[in-house]
Symmetry: C2
């Protein structure tokens, strides 16, 4: 059975959760997004965010990591994804603040065989991240190529 055949539309999968400690927020920001509201509590207090919060790219990267770990642990293989034709609607509806714990999940909403790439399927997945208060803090719709031969 191909990876494509093994994917069922509607399957919700919870990848896991991650605590955005102040230390983790600052470490990511130092490398990739050194803006004041991601680096320093006092400076963050003076911005519209009002407190230290994670880079949106940190949140997205955590989603990726938890997803990879989930598939490695539960499916016994990597994602087997090829290149992606693109992602839509990347959103961070609420800031992720220091101390927040965010749970990430994905749900396959559509799949079809590619017309231009024989042996390849295109799978559309809605990803989401929800904090400990039940608030959505991350969402994204991804289209990825999956082996279908």
């Amino acid at each position: 059975m191909s990876a494509f055949d093994g994917i069922a539309v509607g399957d919700p999968v919870e990848f896991g959760s991650y605590e955005f400690t102040a230390e983790r927020i600052k470490r990511f920001a130092r490398d990739w997004d050194p803006q004041a509201f991601h680096m320093d509590e006092a400076q963050a207090a003076e911005t519209p965010f009002a407190a230290l919060c994670a880079s949106g790219w940190h949140t997205a990267s955590v989603m990726m990591r938890l997803q990879v770990d989930y598939f490695a642990a539960h499916r016994g293989h990597g994602l087997s994804f090829g290149p992606s034709p693109g992602f839509d609607d990347l959103k961070w509806p609420q800031p992720v603040y220091a101390g927040d714990r965010v749970t990430f999940s994905g749900r396959v909403v559509a799949k079809r065989r590619s017309r231009s790439r024989p042996g390849t399927g295109i799978v559309t997945t809605e990803f989401s991240g929800v904090n400990q208060n039940g608030e959505a803090v991350f969402s994204m719709t991804a289209h990825v190529f999956v082996a279908a031969a």
Copy 2:
């Protein structure tokens, strides 16, 4: 003059370039996207990518870092961006391979004052990353809130 008033539609800005060395690709992947094609040359050769290539989140994170550094160096301040209502059309049209040098730029394509948030503007920017062969490897359209009071 507010940050919003200082932004001109059509302004192209080149943020800088970055060499995706194998070491940098693997280091990001170890933390955030430990898939074989981002971690190991031999295993990558057996995948549709055919060679070691960067995580898409690495490419996005580099874009963010170069943008922050550019504004810090050339405008003397941080981005002054508030929360983002969302990004559209995040694409990685070609893989970024080990040894590629990618140049990132942004172009403001629209700006307007927010109706729901007084004193705030919404700026739409098209971001792109182009490798040393002139091939697009990253594109994204971002909408961000900017102080307009």
